[in-house]
Protein backbone atom coordinates (compact mmCIF):
# COMPACT_ATOMS: atom_id res chain seq x y z
CA UNK A 1 0.00 0.00 0.00
CA UNK A 2 1.31 3.46 -0.72
CA UNK A 3 1.34 5.99 2.04
CA UNK A 4 -1.99 7.74 2.35
CA UNK A 5 -0.33 10.93 1.20
CA UNK A 6 1.01 9.27 -1.98
CA UNK A 7 -2.42 7.91 -2.87
CA UNK A 8 -4.03 11.28 -2.22
CA UNK A 9 -1.37 13.02 -4.32
CA UNK A 10 -2.17 10.67 -7.18
CA UNK A 11 -5.85 11.59 -6.85
CA UNK A 12 -4.90 15.29 -6.87
CA UNK A 13 -2.89 14.75 -10.05
CA UNK A 14 -5.79 12.84 -11.58
CA UNK A 15 -7.98 15.86 -10.87
CA UNK A 16 -5.38 18.17 -12.42
CA UNK A 17 -5.16 15.93 -15.48
CA UNK A 18 -8.94 15.79 -15.89
CA UNK A 19 -9.29 19.54 -15.42
CA UNK A 20 -6.64 20.29 -18.04
CA UNK A 21 -8.10 17.73 -20.45
CA UNK A 22 -11.60 19.19 -20.19
CA UNK A 23 -10.40 22.79 -20.45
CA UNK A 24 -8.17 22.11 -23.48
CA UNK A 25 -10.43 19.62 -25.26
CA UNK A 26 -13.33 20.09 -27.61
CA UNK A 27 -15.89 18.39 -25.37
CA UNK A 28 -18.42 21.19 -24.91
CA UNK A 29 -18.09 21.00 -21.11
CA UNK A 30 -18.37 24.35 -19.36
CA UNK A 31 -18.53 25.25 -15.70
CA UNK A 32 -17.76 21.77 -14.41
CA UNK A 33 -16.95 20.71 -10.87
CA UNK A 34 -14.86 17.78 -9.65
CA UNK A 35 -16.33 15.83 -6.80
CA UNK A 36 -16.59 12.47 -5.10
CA UNK A 37 -20.38 12.16 -4.81
CA UNK A 38 -21.01 9.32 -7.25
CA UNK A 39 -24.29 7.71 -8.25
CA UNK A 40 -23.92 4.73 -10.62
CA UNK A 41 -25.70 5.48 -13.91
CA UNK A 42 -28.93 3.53 -14.42
CA UNK A 43 -29.67 4.31 -18.06
CA UNK A 44 -27.69 2.88 -20.97
CA UNK A 45 -24.15 4.04 -20.39
CA UNK A 46 -20.76 3.97 -22.08
CA UNK A 47 -17.59 2.92 -20.30
CA UNK A 48 -13.89 2.92 -21.11
CA UNK A 49 -11.35 0.88 -19.16
CA UNK A 50 -7.62 1.45 -19.51
CA UNK A 51 -5.01 -0.55 -17.63
CA UNK A 52 -1.55 0.47 -16.56
CA UNK A 53 1.43 -1.10 -14.86
CA UNK A 54 4.69 0.03 -13.36
CA UNK A 55 7.48 -1.42 -11.24
CA UNK A 56 5.50 -1.25 -8.01
CA UNK A 57 1.96 -0.45 -9.09
CA UNK A 58 -0.65 -1.80 -11.46
CA UNK A 59 -4.26 -0.95 -12.03
CA UNK A 60 -6.77 0.71 -14.30
CA UNK A 61 -8.89 3.75 -14.75
CA UNK A 62 -12.54 3.44 -15.65
CA UNK A 63 -14.54 6.33 -17.02
CA UNK A 64 -18.25 6.21 -17.68
CA UNK A 65 -21.26 8.31 -18.57
CA UNK A 66 -24.81 7.81 -19.66
CA UNK A 67 -24.90 7.36 -23.41
CA UNK A 68 -26.80 10.59 -23.99
CA UNK A 69 -24.10 12.49 -22.08
CA UNK A 70 -21.23 10.63 -23.77
CA UNK A 71 -22.73 11.46 -27.17
CA UNK A 72 -22.45 15.16 -26.34
CA UNK A 73 -18.69 14.72 -25.82
CA UNK A 74 -18.26 13.94 -29.53
CA UNK A 75 -17.12 17.17 -31.24
CA UNK A 76 -19.87 19.06 -32.99
CA UNK A 77 -19.82 18.42 -36.71
CA UNK A 78 -17.82 15.21 -36.38
CA UNK A 79 -20.57 13.13 -37.94
CA UNK A 80 -23.85 13.64 -39.76
CA UNK A 81 -26.73 13.22 -37.33
CA UNK A 82 -26.45 11.46 -34.01
CA UNK A 83 -23.16 9.66 -33.30
CA UNK A 84 -23.32 5.87 -33.47
CA UNK A 85 -22.48 3.56 -30.55
CA UNK A 86 -19.08 2.91 -32.16
CA UNK A 87 -18.29 6.62 -32.33
CA UNK A 88 -19.42 7.28 -28.76
CA UNK A 89 -17.43 4.32 -27.43
CA UNK A 90 -14.36 5.37 -29.40
CA UNK A 91 -14.58 8.90 -28.02
CA UNK A 92 -14.77 7.62 -24.43
CA UNK A 93 -11.81 5.34 -25.11
CA UNK A 94 -9.75 8.25 -26.41
CA UNK A 95 -10.75 10.43 -23.44
CA UNK A 96 -9.57 7.67 -21.09
CA UNK A 97 -6.35 7.40 -23.11
CA UNK A 98 -5.60 11.12 -22.93
CA UNK A 99 -6.56 11.32 -19.25
CA UNK A 100 -4.30 8.47 -18.20
CA UNK A 101 -1.58 9.77 -20.53
CA UNK A 102 -1.60 13.10 -18.71
CA UNK A 103 -1.49 11.39 -15.33
CA UNK A 104 1.38 9.19 -16.49
CA UNK A 105 3.39 12.18 -17.72
CA UNK A 106 2.87 13.97 -14.42
CA UNK A 107 3.88 10.96 -12.30
CA UNK A 108 7.16 10.70 -14.25
CA UNK A 109 8.34 13.71 -12.26
CA UNK A 110 7.88 11.66 -9.09
CA UNK A 111 9.90 8.74 -10.44
CA UNK A 112 6.87 6.58 -11.26
CA UNK A 113 6.96 5.11 -14.78
CA UNK A 114 3.76 3.56 -16.07
CA UNK A 115 3.14 1.50 -19.19
CA UNK A 116 -0.34 2.00 -20.56
CA UNK A 117 -2.58 -0.54 -22.24
CA UNK A 118 -5.03 0.31 -25.02
CA UNK A 119 -8.62 1.21 -24.09
CA UNK A 120 -11.45 -1.28 -23.92
CA UNK A 121 -14.94 0.16 -24.17
CA UNK A 122 -18.36 -1.18 -23.29
CA UNK A 123 -21.96 -0.03 -23.52
CA UNK A 124 -24.83 -1.29 -21.41
CA UNK A 125 -27.28 -0.77 -18.59
CA UNK A 126 -26.70 -1.18 -14.85
CA UNK A 127 -23.05 -2.10 -15.32
CA UNK A 128 -21.15 -2.50 -12.08
CA UNK A 129 -17.37 -2.76 -11.79
CA UNK A 130 -15.92 -5.05 -9.12
CA UNK A 131 -12.72 -4.44 -7.23
CA UNK A 132 -9.94 -6.86 -6.34
CA UNK A 133 -9.39 -7.49 -2.65
CA UNK A 134 -5.93 -5.92 -2.61
CA UNK A 135 -6.78 -2.86 -4.68
CA UNK A 136 -7.14 0.72 -3.58
CA UNK A 137 -9.90 2.61 -5.35
CA UNK A 138 -11.42 6.07 -5.57
CA UNK A 139 -14.27 7.27 -7.75
CA UNK A 140 -14.56 10.88 -8.79
CA UNK A 141 -17.17 12.74 -10.81
CA UNK A 142 -16.83 15.53 -13.37
CA UNK A 143 -20.23 17.22 -13.21
CA UNK A 144 -21.67 20.05 -15.25
CA UNK A 145 -25.15 21.25 -16.28
CA UNK A 146 -25.53 18.68 -19.09
CA UNK A 147 -24.45 15.62 -17.13
CA UNK A 148 -21.56 13.87 -15.46
CA UNK A 149 -18.68 11.56 -16.20
CA UNK A 150 -17.30 9.36 -13.46
CA UNK A 151 -13.60 8.63 -13.23
CA UNK A 152 -12.55 5.66 -11.15
CA UNK A 153 -8.92 4.93 -10.24
CA UNK A 154 -8.07 1.38 -9.14
CA UNK A 155 -4.56 0.24 -8.26
CA UNK A 156 -2.58 -2.39 -6.38
CA UNK A 157 0.61 -1.04 -4.86
CA UNK A 158 3.66 -3.08 -3.89
CA UNK A 159 5.09 -2.33 -0.42
CA UNK A 160 8.11 -0.61 -1.99
CA UNK A 161 6.03 1.88 -4.01
CA UNK A 162 7.32 5.42 -3.67
CA UNK A 163 6.14 8.66 -5.19
CA UNK A 164 8.79 11.36 -5.21
CA UNK A 165 8.38 15.11 -5.23
CA UNK A 166 6.28 15.90 -8.31
CA UNK A 167 7.59 19.45 -8.44
CA UNK A 168 11.25 18.43 -8.44
CA UNK A 169 11.40 17.61 -12.16
CA UNK A 170 8.92 19.78 -14.04
CA UNK A 171 10.51 18.85 -17.39
CA UNK A 172 10.21 15.11 -16.83
CA UNK A 173 7.90 14.77 -19.84
CA UNK A 174 6.84 16.70 -22.90
CA UNK A 175 3.82 18.95 -22.49
CA UNK A 176 0.47 18.07 -23.99
CA UNK A 177 -0.12 19.88 -27.29
CA UNK A 178 3.59 20.50 -27.90
CA UNK A 179 5.51 19.39 -30.95
CA UNK A 180 9.16 18.63 -31.57
CA UNK A 181 10.67 18.11 -35.03
CA UNK A 182 14.04 16.40 -35.17
Amino acid sequence: MPSESAFERIQDELQNAATALVEEGDYGIAGFVWGDAFEPPEDTSVFAVLGFSGDAVKGAIVIGAERAVAAKLVPEGFCDGEPTDDIVCDQMGEIANQLLGRLKNRLLAGGVVLSLATPTTAIGRRVRFTLGAEASSRTHVIAWDDGQVFVRFDAVFAPEFELGDLDSAPEAAMTEGDMMLF
Binding site: E24, G25, V74, P75, F78, D86, I87, D90, Q91, G93, E94, N97, Q98, L100, G101, R102, K104, N105, L108, V113, L116, A117, T118, A172, A173, M174, T175, E176, G177, D178, M179, M180, L181, F182
Partner: protein, 124 residues
Protein backbone atom coordinates in the same frame (compact mmCIF):
# COMPACT_ATOMS: atom_id res chain seq x y z
CA UNK B 1 -4.09 17.08 -54.58
CA UNK B 2 -1.03 17.41 -52.39
CA UNK B 3 1.27 14.82 -50.89
CA UNK B 4 -0.21 11.61 -49.48
CA UNK B 5 -0.23 11.08 -45.72
CA UNK B 6 -0.97 7.83 -43.86
CA UNK B 7 -2.66 8.40 -40.49
CA UNK B 8 -2.23 5.51 -38.05
CA UNK B 9 -4.19 5.37 -34.77
CA UNK B 10 -6.44 2.81 -33.10
CA UNK B 11 -8.92 5.59 -32.31
CA UNK B 12 -11.36 6.30 -35.14
CA UNK B 13 -11.93 9.74 -33.61
CA UNK B 14 -8.26 10.67 -33.85
CA UNK B 15 -7.87 9.24 -37.34
CA UNK B 16 -10.86 11.25 -38.50
CA UNK B 17 -9.81 14.49 -36.81
CA UNK B 18 -6.23 14.28 -38.08
CA UNK B 19 -7.40 13.32 -41.57
CA UNK B 20 -9.85 16.23 -41.70
CA UNK B 21 -7.16 18.70 -40.66
CA UNK B 22 -4.69 17.40 -43.25
CA UNK B 23 -7.27 17.08 -46.04
CA UNK B 24 -8.35 20.65 -45.36
CA UNK B 25 -4.77 21.72 -46.01
CA UNK B 26 -4.71 19.90 -49.35
CA UNK B 27 -3.14 16.58 -48.41
CA UNK B 28 -4.41 13.23 -49.68
CA UNK B 29 -5.01 11.02 -46.65
CA UNK B 30 -5.29 7.28 -46.04
CA UNK B 31 -5.81 5.60 -42.68
CA UNK B 32 -4.81 2.51 -40.70
CA UNK B 33 -5.86 1.27 -37.26
CA UNK B 34 -2.52 -0.12 -36.07
CA UNK B 35 1.06 -0.62 -37.17
CA UNK B 36 0.43 -3.93 -38.90
CA UNK B 37 -2.39 -2.50 -40.98
CA UNK B 38 -0.20 0.54 -41.71
CA UNK B 39 2.55 -1.63 -43.19
CA UNK B 40 0.01 -3.22 -45.52
CA UNK B 41 -1.24 0.22 -46.51
CA UNK B 42 2.32 1.35 -47.33
CA UNK B 43 2.69 -1.67 -49.61
CA UNK B 44 -0.65 -0.94 -51.29
CA UNK B 45 -0.33 2.86 -51.53
CA UNK B 46 2.98 3.38 -53.31
CA UNK B 47 3.17 7.15 -52.95
CA UNK B 48 2.87 7.85 -49.21
CA UNK B 49 5.23 10.70 -48.25
CA UNK B 50 4.49 10.98 -44.55
CA UNK B 51 3.10 8.80 -41.78
CA UNK B 52 1.47 10.32 -38.69
CA UNK B 53 1.54 7.49 -36.18
CA UNK B 54 0.24 6.83 -32.66
CA UNK B 55 2.47 4.94 -30.21
CA UNK B 56 0.13 2.84 -28.04
CA UNK B 57 -1.81 0.60 -30.41
CA UNK B 58 -2.82 -3.07 -30.39
CA UNK B 59 -1.22 -5.70 -32.62
CA UNK B 60 1.80 -3.54 -33.58
CA UNK B 61 2.58 -0.34 -31.67
CA UNK B 62 4.11 2.79 -33.13
CA UNK B 63 7.69 2.03 -32.09
CA UNK B 64 7.46 -1.47 -33.58
CA UNK B 65 6.04 0.08 -36.76
CA UNK B 66 8.95 2.50 -36.88
CA UNK B 67 11.41 -0.40 -36.53
CA UNK B 68 9.71 -2.25 -39.40
CA UNK B 69 9.68 0.81 -41.65
CA UNK B 70 13.37 1.45 -41.09
CA UNK B 71 14.17 -2.18 -41.82
CA UNK B 72 12.28 -2.07 -45.10
CA UNK B 73 14.20 -0.93 -48.15
CA UNK B 74 10.92 0.02 -49.83
CA UNK B 75 9.77 2.31 -47.02
CA UNK B 76 12.92 3.48 -45.24
CA UNK B 77 12.79 6.94 -46.84
CA UNK B 78 9.24 7.72 -45.72
CA UNK B 79 9.01 10.38 -43.01
CA UNK B 80 7.28 9.26 -39.82
CA UNK B 81 6.10 11.61 -37.08
CA UNK B 82 4.61 10.26 -33.85
CA UNK B 83 1.28 11.59 -32.48
CA UNK B 84 0.72 10.34 -28.95
CA UNK B 85 -0.09 10.94 -25.29
CA UNK B 86 3.33 9.54 -24.35
CA UNK B 87 5.71 12.26 -23.19
CA UNK B 88 8.66 10.28 -21.76
CA UNK B 89 11.92 11.76 -23.05
CA UNK B 90 13.62 8.37 -23.40
CA UNK B 91 10.75 7.18 -25.60
CA UNK B 92 11.09 10.31 -27.72
CA UNK B 93 14.81 9.65 -28.07
CA UNK B 94 14.13 6.02 -28.97
CA UNK B 95 11.85 7.13 -31.80
CA UNK B 96 14.42 9.69 -32.94
CA UNK B 97 17.13 7.02 -33.01
CA UNK B 98 14.84 4.90 -35.19
CA UNK B 99 14.55 7.72 -37.68
CA UNK B 100 11.29 9.41 -36.68
CA UNK B 101 11.14 13.01 -37.86
CA UNK B 102 9.11 14.41 -35.00
CA UNK B 103 6.94 13.92 -31.91
CA UNK B 104 3.55 15.56 -31.42
CA UNK B 105 1.74 15.42 -28.08
CA UNK B 106 -2.03 14.87 -28.03
CA UNK B 107 -4.30 16.79 -28.13
CA UNK B 108 -2.78 17.99 -31.38
CA UNK B 109 -3.00 21.58 -32.57
CA UNK B 110 -4.13 21.50 -36.22
CA UNK B 111 -1.94 24.42 -37.28
CA UNK B 112 1.19 22.80 -35.84
CA UNK B 113 0.33 19.44 -37.42
CA UNK B 114 -0.24 21.03 -40.83
CA UNK B 115 2.98 23.05 -40.58
CA UNK B 116 4.91 19.89 -39.72
CA UNK B 117 3.30 17.96 -42.57
CA UNK B 118 4.12 20.69 -45.08
CA UNK B 119 7.72 20.88 -43.91
CA UNK B 120 8.28 17.14 -43.90
CA UNK B 121 6.65 16.48 -47.26
CA UNK B 122 8.46 19.39 -48.88
CA UNK B 123 11.77 17.89 -47.76
CA UNK B 124 10.90 14.47 -49.23
Amino acid sequence: MGAKVLVVDDSMMIRTQVSKALAGAGFAVVQAGDGSEALKKLDAEKDVSLVVCDVNMPTMNGIEFLESVRASEAHAAISVVMLTTEGQHDLVQRAKSLGAKGWIMKPFKPDLLIAAAKKLTAAA
